[in-house]
Symmetry: C2
Subunit: 354 residues, 2 copies
DNA sequence: TTGAAAGCGCTAACAC
DNA sequence: GTGTTAGCGCTTTCAA
């Protein structure tokens, strides 16, 4: 834990190698204009002296930091962390480091943003943050920004293709022979933007493609909670012609639906198909078939865009859509078998009712 | 997304305020040796010019970066994230930023470590990483390190007090009137160090304090999996004098135990008490009473230590123990009621058996 | 209390 | 190709 650093500088290397500092610098920055022998020699000296260039000095001289800032709404959700892993992976592949700011509260966003800028990050990845909170007092941001799961003004956005995702879900249910489908989504809010509309569109077009008339579709708007899903499904199942398949916009809702289905005496999978969305950890335990949003991939793409742009300018800043994927478990009807927590024993009353 | 920065420097401020750059710098670093009027005036100019000091230049001149490195084994576990939140909170309170390295694979540790050092972080927080992987080729680390949940050589360690945690668990079970207790833990490994021994000690002393003879205690060593917990409990429950309470070293094991108990026809909570450990998300859904390790607090403390030491030297580098806490749900016997996924309906066959 | 000046370690433009 | 040198923007002596 000593505080003193070896402190071997580029000058030491130059002296030791009998060359100018400029030449050493050129070797360091992989410039072509160095003789092969000289380069070898210098490399050897660097090795011998265990020389490490000083980042701060380099940053100052170059006017950039080789660092990307990441702003996200907290470390609490798994989804964000998957994104972060993708960001991290791509960043370290490109020899960039990351400075991470997790805003537990919305009012921290502004402060963290300016911290990041103050640190002269070369670019910024903003994850699932209300676009209204991200800005530079009307002015353009001083560094390139890419938003993931959020559409910051003037920034490239990486977004899950929610239309495709819900299309996937609905088609899968229809593939199991269901004729009456319900979509359970949530009310619109500023951050989620138009994703609700996208999912609805995906749902409807899947049903059309599957030959289902509009009259057989229902739509319920509820929160992303187990309770809300439960309530919604209860209501729908009590209808004269209840839906036999439920596409939910969140896994939590879907779990509530599972419960309602079980309570109604129906068998999940066989009588009723249920699909979740987001593929959270719990989905696995609930044997819930779900839509996975490729969070890792989005993180990766975001950094890809950023580095690309940093290297060669930002011509286009279109939104790029990332394709979700289908994670098949049992709740859709694909498998009788369930893991440890499988229904029908999963819910109180379910076994009794069946 | 423009690339050009305003670029107002300390020199501009000095000129505009008719003072020397030194004086401006003193104002910036809150030095006392500046006249009150001069300070006010300079502050006003800074405000008007919207001047922001350049971090890289400051870092270079000061020889430090006001940045802490965080090395953790991946973003996948909730426990790590809570720690990370604590780290982040304390760091931003101390005006430090964070560079986060998540090593998905053990072989990435070395590389990330040297990246962090290369970036001249002022200190390093290492979370749950095998101490053997953290080192500087025998030499002392060039920056202060504090380990969380790991004991890196020469570093201060922040560790959960596993003895106290398991004591808490066992005492709670004994408080419910149980006379025969089982401890289910796992085999020792390099990262977990002596925590298994600590838990065992806590367990034994709780039993002694509770007046239970050694002959009434059993100990099973298994992995941290549902299956292992299930197997262990099955075996124990088949004994002539089976334990009536299970203290587990992981929630997953405990869930396996829950299942075995239910399968045996006993009622969880009433006939048999079960405690988990770690308080993972799933514990809530399983109504599992568990021991929470105060991950957030550990993160916070780690940074506290680091900043303290950075400010005034490292005299002591003792290990600091953080007290776990008891999260009461239903599996211990404290409540009949269960939430959505409550037993007895929780497990296949449970209702049928009861 | 304040100004001037000497670096911090590196890059890049410019000569040779 | 390679050496020399002038900054990058800030902190920090050292005089005044």
């Amino acid at each position: 834990m000593s505080q003193d650093r070896p402190k071997v500088t580029i000058r030491d290397v130059a002296r030791e190698a009998n060359v100018g500092v400029g030449t050493v610098s050129r070797v360091l920055s992989r410039s072509a204009n160095v003789g092969a022998e000289t380069r070898q020699h210098i490399l050897a000296v660097i090795e011998r002296l265990a020389y490490e260039p000083n980042r701060a000095a380099r940053n100052l001289a170059r006017g950039r930091t080789d660092t990307l800032g990441v702003l996200l709404p907290s470390f609490t959700r798994h989804y964000f962390l998957d994104i972060l892993r993708g960001v991290q992976t791509a960043a370290s592949e490109g020899d960039y480091s990351l400075t991470v700011f997790a805003a537990d509260r919305p009012d921290q966003v502004k402060g963290y943003l300016s911290s990041a800028l103050k640190q002269r990050v070369d670019g910024l990845v903003v994850i699932s943050v209300d676009p209204a909170l991200v800005g530079n007092d009307g002015a353009e941001m001083p560094v390139p920004v890419v938003g993931i799961d959020t559409q910051v003004e003037g920034a490239t956005s990486i977004l899950p293709d929610h239309a495709a995702g819900m299309y996937l879900a609905a088609r899968h249910l229809i593939g199991h022979g269901h004729k009456r489908l319900a979509l359970i989504d949530r009310p619109q809010d500023p951050v989620s933007g138009n994703q609700i509309a996208a999912r609805r569109a995906g749902f409807v077009s899947a049903c059309h493609d599957g030959g289902l008339p509009d009259s057989q579709l229902s739509l319920e708007i509820h929160d992303y909670t187990v309770e809300a899903g439960h309530k919604a499904a209860r209501r729908l199942l009590a209808l004269d012609e209840p839906p036999t398949a439920f596409a939910c916009a969140s896994d939590m809702q879907a779990i509530g639906v599972l419960r309602a289905v079980a309570e109604s005496g129906r068998t999940i999978g066989r009588d009723v198909g249920v699909m979740g969305y987001h593929n959270v950890d719990l989905a696995e335990y609930a044997c819930l078939t779900s839509i996975h949003l490729s969070a890792f991939e989005m993180g990766r793409q975001a950094v890809g865009r950023l580095l690309e742009g940093l290297a060669s300018g930002f011509d286009e800043r279109a939104a790029v859509q990332v394709m979700p994927s289908l994670i098949v478990r049992a709740s859709c009807g694909c498998a009788e078998e369930s893991r440890l927590f499988g229904w029908p024993g999963f819910f109180p009353g379910a076994s009794a009712g069946a």
